[in-house]
Symmetry: C2
Subunit: 276 residues, 2 copies
Amino acid sequence: MNGRNFRSLLEAKWDEKKFLCVGLDSDINRIPEAIRKEDTRSTIVAFNRAIIDATKDLVCAYKPNVAFYEARGEEGFAALRETIAYIIDVAPDIPVILDSKRGDIASTNDQYAISAFEHLRADAVTVNPYLGGEPLQPFFERGDKGVIVLCHTSNPGAGEVQELSTGGEPLYKKIASLAATQWNKNGNCCVMVGATYPEELGEVRALVGDMPILIAGIGAQKGDLKKVLQHGLDGKKRGLIVNATRSIIFAGNGENFAKSAREAAETLHDAITKAL
Amino acid sequence: MNGRNFRSLLEAKWDEKKFLCVGLDSDINRIPEAIRKEDTRSTIVAFNRAIIDATKDLVCAYKPNVAFYEARGEEGFAALRETIAYIIDVAPDIPVILDSKRGDIASTNDQYAISAFEHLRADAVTVNPYLGGEPLQPFFERGDKGVIVLCHTSNPGAGEVQELSTGGEPLYKKIASLAATQWNKNGNCCVMVGATYPEELGEVRALVGDMPILIAGIGAQKGDLKKVLQHGLDGKKRGLIVNATRSIIFAGNGENFAKSAREAAETLHDAITKAL
């Protein structure tokens, strides 16, 4: 774990013109028959290893979403830990974003930080801003780790709360401003915006400068890649972590599922680099 | 699991004039030496069993916060599952609130619902409203389960986001209105308010009618019980789940820790019933 720094790892991948992040939301019910093992834990880990082996030269990050592991109980939680350990082992230059969208009072967030950074060994974590910046300190104070604050999420009903007008500007812009001006004392704050809201992404970019923005919703959620790059890139034509999940990891479901995943990742990687 | 219904279980406890909820945030570092076992999982379960045995005739609910279990990895997660199973076994009339403050897009919340309700067998879950009501449907559609939406949290910095003015009213009041008018189609929506904000609690009560309100922050966080009851009770002098955690479960740290926990719980229970 020593010496890993989320922002440095990410910048090095951006130097290589890699912006794609593969979401490892490894729903046990969608894992192909060909890779199934005798138990849930081994099945999930074997599937993730195959996806990682097939895509690791193309990506700037991996992003497992905790929900898909929690749903399988201790076995799933163990599979998540082993998956991250595998990435650190075979691709130590690729940062791991734990997509957990956590958020509680400070003394509880202390425990979530232990879970994410010590137990699971993630390099970054997604967090929810509803409780404000103060209780997020246990995350922010880990300067080597990325803290990715939800800003405008990708779901169809995101606007119900996030677009409420607060003093003349929508809530998600207020959150972006807080992230950029109040919550980034350690230089490790990032934000998350859904690909399905490209114009809102542009507004967020204008507020956060060169802060990394995690883009969710490319692929299965049908976010528009060109618009995302047009509105989301920073002044140096970087700054984005473009995540796709189901459209890559479940691109095929036969024996060649890993090859299909690679092809889908390659197509998206190429589309990003061509559009730059 | 068949036949358990969160609201019915809760109402039955209110009929018995029980409003106290004990938070099972069983931080391994604070568990007394006297109850420690050879491994983390057994230690946490043994401690929780002792607390449950000592308090189960006094409470309307138990509320483990997932963070304190996640921080211990698979062992912690197993201890959480075993703790809930123990409550269902020895006190099947007491509902279990999983304090997880989850919130993601709908297809991911499907997985969190599986984790909370199928794997862990909780009767209710706390959720974060930042993504809006639409992605919370996987929770809301489980009519037998309670879905407790964060409204105004107990932490000192809660106001930074939750008190932002949205169309003339603070965000937490907007969330309370949405919970009461839009998100309660199945009659299983509840809200959470910090004891440290009693006046805001009164405003929320005025908006949500007889909806159950989970009160966090009594005890270690120094919320004022009298003010909470004055502002938070509904028209029938019920409707509250008054949670205390550290002030009860860590009331003592010697061999008689369970007796100390019971005394602390009894004192709070008595204070509530006297004030009614």
